[in-house]
């Protein structure tokens, strides 16, 4: 099959592989006959990630990117050899975990070799004394977490994508889980790593609780999005599975009241594991049966851990909520969230009606949070075709928040769905930057946000680009993302 039946979205600047058979046989030498494929059925399987516009493309028979080879290396040395070959032949390499990314990070936009990390799926060691787990990075999140749970531990990193994402994906995209207000984000959880650099060198960052040994070079690879190296192994913090869990919910008259309550809770160094604010619309959408919540802002909290600490956290959470006009809504809204948090049906329900739907998470200091929220809503409501713009806020720090916008709409006039999608993205991101926020909280940059990196980073982007050039002079590792404006700015 030449895939001509499918419209290819990212088709410019594809790499030209003159002698595909030669490359195939070299890859076979490296990974073995059974760990490489050029079969149509496999190539098509790796033509997309979980970017939501991709769902519209899928039903329309379009494909995002078309790789040339799929490989499943089993050792770190094999990955190193593939990278050496790719440098020699100037072929792009696209690391692939579980394909759950939502910003295009795993799409082979120029073709090339997919390195699927799924065979790196082992837990290598659990150390109870140090409270660490060492695992290969292709392991699926749920499989890691449920094995840890069965032995009485948790990483505390529970993203909504837990079932469909990998440890490597979390690290590459600098992920955050739903319980992160207590347990921290992935950069707080990773203690050590093994990385294969773009030219094939294998390096290790040893596992240590904390050190003063020069700059933290390891942090370069947490959020590197597979452009600076491929993380093959990581040691993470783990925790004893919480002894007690308390479910709390309050409704507030406005999003500002809810912000203020949570800011005051965190100021007291109280860290509920889960804190989620739903704006009025999201409250109506998710909690239609709760009378007290009508036209209000719902906040759900989960406090967990040592029983005495949980009781104290509960007491202060309630005190600050009530001080800020919060009305107790009991456990039911939290139970509802726990039951429904992995029941994702929206991605399937919109594309048959050609509705373009997505979420955009951004970051802010407390002082800008309310402005960002209102500014994004105002800007998006002015955009023709947008029928929905809402937000929930699910990641909190003593100093600020991560706000998660959801939008939906239809392209009108002569726009393609991608043009409309880009316009929505750009409207949100511009409003966030103008209001003093940061363009991404935990999904990463990928393709969707790359053209905003200069605005986000300012002149320090030059330094980042220099680092990329130094590590990857042939630009073979996940090209077309982060540093390159693949969207050509979209319609700003």
């Amino acid at each position: 099959m030449d895939f001509k039946e499918f419209e290819l979205i990212y088709k410019d600047n594809r790499c030209e592989i003159k002698d595909k058979q030669k490359i195939e046989s070299k890859l076979k030498e490296i990974v073995g006959e059974n760990n490489i494929s050029t079969n149509d059925v496999d190539i098509l399987a790796y033509s997309k990630d979980s970017t939501l516009i991709g769902m519209n493309w899928t039903i329309q028979g379009k494909i995002a990117g078309l790789p040339d080879f799929i490989t499943w290396p089993e050792t770190v040395e094999q990955i190193s050899e593939i990278l050496k070959l790719a440098n020699k032949e100037k072929i792009p390499i696209i690391p692939f975990g579980e394909g759950s990314g939502v910003v295009g990070g795993a799409i082979a936009i120029y073709g090339g070799i997919i390195i699927d990390m799924k065979k790196f799926n082992k837990i290598l060691k659990i150390n109870d004394k140090n409270l660490t787990v060492t695992a290969q990075t292709g392991i699926n999140g749920m499989n890691l977490e449920r094995i840890l749970n069965s032995k009485g531990y948790t990483t505390g990193h529970i993203p909504q994508s837990l079932y469909i994402s990998s440890l490597g994906g979390w690290i590459a995209h600098r992920a955050a889980g739903q319980f992160s207000t207590k347990y921290g984000k992935i950069e707080d959880i990773v203690l050590g790593m093994e990385v294969v650099l773009p030219q094939g060198e294998i390096i290790n960052f040893k596992t240590i609780a904390r050190a003063s040994t020069g700059p933290q070079l390891d942090k370069l690879f947490i959020g590197g999005e597979g452009t600076l190296g491929i993380v093959t192994k990581a040691t993470l913090k783990i925790w004893p599975y919480p002894a007690k869990r308390t479910l709390i919910s309050y409704v507030f008259p406005s999003i500002e009241d809810s912000f203020e309550a949570i800011r005051q809770i965190l100021r007291e160094q109280i860290y509920p594991a889960v804190v989620r604010i739903y704006d009025q619309f999201e409250t109506m959408r998710h909690f239609p049966d709760i009378d007290k919540a009508k036209d209000k802002v719902m906040v759900v909290f989960i406090c967990e851990g040592n029983s005495k600490l949980v009781d104290l956290e509960e007491s202060i959470t309630r005190e600050k909520s009530e001080k800020n006009s919060g009305v107790d809504c009991g456990e039911h809204p939290v139970e509802h969230w726990l039951e429904s948090r992995f029941r994702i049906t929206e991605t399937s329900s919109m594309p048959p009606y050609k509705i373009v739907f997505d979420t955009i998470e951004v970051a802010s200091l407390w002082e800008n949070a309310s402005d960002i929220y209102h500014s994004v809503l105002k800007s998006m409501k002015q955009l023709q075709g947008v029928i929905m713009i809402t937000a929930h806020v699910s990641h909190f720090y003593p100093n600020g928040v991560g706000i998660y916008f959801s939008f939906g709409g239809v392209p009108t006039k002569e726009q393609s769905d991608l043009e409309f999608y880009q316009k929505c993205w750009n409207t949100v991101v511009k409003a966030v930057l103008d209001a003093g926020g940061s363009i991404a909280h935990h999904h990463g940059i990928g393709i969707n946000r790359a053209h905003w990196m200069e605005s986000e980073w300012g002149t320090s982007m030059n330094t980042l680009k220099e680092i990329k050039k130094l590590l990857d002079p042939n630009d073979i590792l996940n090209p077309g993302k982060v540093y390159v404006d693949t969207w050509k700015g979209g319609e700003k």
């Binding site: 394909g99 399937s348 594309p351 009606y353």
Partner: protein
């Protein structure tokens, strides 16, 4: 999700559409009206297109527990991708009649029917239930893969899924045949795959005798339940076997039908009924019946189990755990057997991982099925037990493929009846 639940879940959309400007509203209304024209095939089709779309656009929420995906570590085995290909074949985006696209058709058969996906599915269906509807269309178009045609041919030629009528081997295997006198209490419906495990069948017969049950086996007249034809969706053959079995079962006069094969139970009940051929009898798995006999005091534990059989783990057959929703009968029986040390595997009961040998996957890709069996064996080995107890001939067949030759002496896969008989 039911219609009412769906309407409730998406009731928030309507006010948004009403509030939208005229041009936007017009586009949305047009898109709603044209959903079927845009995204459904023309003409008649069997495929469950609505749910193929739901599945292919889902971010694969069941992927971590899909046996074929875990065994292959290949994205092309992911449930949402299988649905995507099913949709493209149905829509003709991938031409099913083009021989170059054979691998895409094969993908529709690379499923073990284990239905682990259903546990995690946000829409509450299993992927095999979708793939079967795609197979219906492929069969109608004469595109059934050769390895499936071979199974149908064997069924029609030998009345079993083997190259020969395996039921006829009972004498050489030392299995007693009990002819029905038309007035039995119980008909012991022996599965054709169970005939590969004569010690299991003999144990079951002996247990029934010890309990004083009046039963028959009718091995001279016995045929396959037709399960393989139902898997392949060759419904003409499937219904032919349903009719044959209905006649055979009803001729025994038995009120209760018991089988040692969970696949047979599924076929004799749900599948026959859906095909319009209902057998009006109580049909249960043999472990469920043994549990009843133990409760009634008809089976007594009088012997001590030999020491080498005392450290066991349980492999729940997925059709008993997830289809019959019975994970307690096996445990209740084992817990009554004196001196047993039962160590549960991490993935057990309704969360059990498949043996690899159900559905059509082992015909479409035997190596894949073996890798799935190896994965399950590794999970069972992690318990530290050396005896793996199951209650399904297909599981016992599949698991045996998963044990390395060098470890065959160390680990023993037994049917629950083989253990039970040692204690009676």
């Amino acid at each position: 999700m039911g219609v009412e639940e769906t309407l409730k879940k998406y009731s928030w959309i309507l006010p948004l559409i009403q509030k939208a400007d005229r041009a936007t509203r017009a586009v949305i209304m047009k898109n709603f009206r044209q959903k079927k024209t845009n995204f459904f095939p023309e003409g008649e089709f069997n495929a469950d297109v609505e749910n193929l779309i739901n599945c292919m656009l889902c971010p694969n929420m069941c992927r971590f527990d899909c046996g074929t995906l875990v065994a292959s570590q290949n994205e092309s085995m992911s449930p949402a991708y299988k649905a995507r290909i099913g949709y493209y074949l149905t829509m003709g985006i991938i031409d099913p009649a083009d021989s170059a696209n054979k691998e895409f058709i094969n993908l529709m058969y690379k499923c073990t029917n284990e239905e682990n996906c259903k546990i995690w599915c946000p829409f509450d269906f299993s992927v095999v239930s979708l793939l079967e509807t795609v197979r219906d269309d492929l069969n109608d178009e004469g595109l059934m893969p050769d390895y499936c045609k071979q199974q149908i041919s064997k069924l029609n030629k030998t009345n079993t899924i083997e190259d020969y009528n395996i039921f006829e081997t009972y004498k050489e295997k030392g299995i007693e045949n009990i002819e029905s006198d038309g007035n039995d209490d119980v008909f012991y419906y022996i599965g054709c795959q169970s005939m590969k495990f004569p010690e299991v069948v003999k144990a079951n017969i002996e247990i029934l005798k010890k309990a004083g049950i009046k039963f028959s086996t009718n091995l001279d007249k016995k045929v396959c339940c037709g399960g393989p034809a139902f898997n392949i969706r060759e419904m003409e053959t499937a219904k032919k076997f349903a009719r044959k079995n209905k006649e055979l079962i009803e001729s025994t006069g038995a009120k209760i039908i018991i089988s040692d094969c969970p696949g047979c139970i599924l076929t004799l009940t749900e599948r026959y009924e859906k095909a319009g051929i209902k057998i009006e009898k109580e049909i249960v798995h043999i472990v469920q019946y043994f549990r009843k006999l133990i409760d009634e005091g008809k089976l007594r534990f009088e012997k001590s189990i030999p020491e080498e059989f005392r450290k066991i783990t349980i492999h729940d057959p997925c059709l008993i755990a997830r289809n019959l929703k019975d994970t307690e009968s096996i445990r209740m029986i084992l817990n009554k057997i004196p001196d047993l040390e039962i160590i549960e595997p991490m993935y057990n009961k309704e969360y059990v991982h498949c043996c690899g040998w159900s559905g059509t996957a082992h015909w479409a890709d035997k190596d894949l099925a073996i890798r799935e069996a190896q994965n399950r064996i590794n999970e069972l080995k992690e318990t530290g037990a050396n005896i793996f107890i199951s209650a399904c001939p297909l599981c016992e067949l599949g698991l045996a493929y998963g044990i390395d030759e060098t470890e065959k002496e160390k680990y023993n896969i037994l049917d629950i009846s083989e253990l039970l008989i040692k204690a009676l």
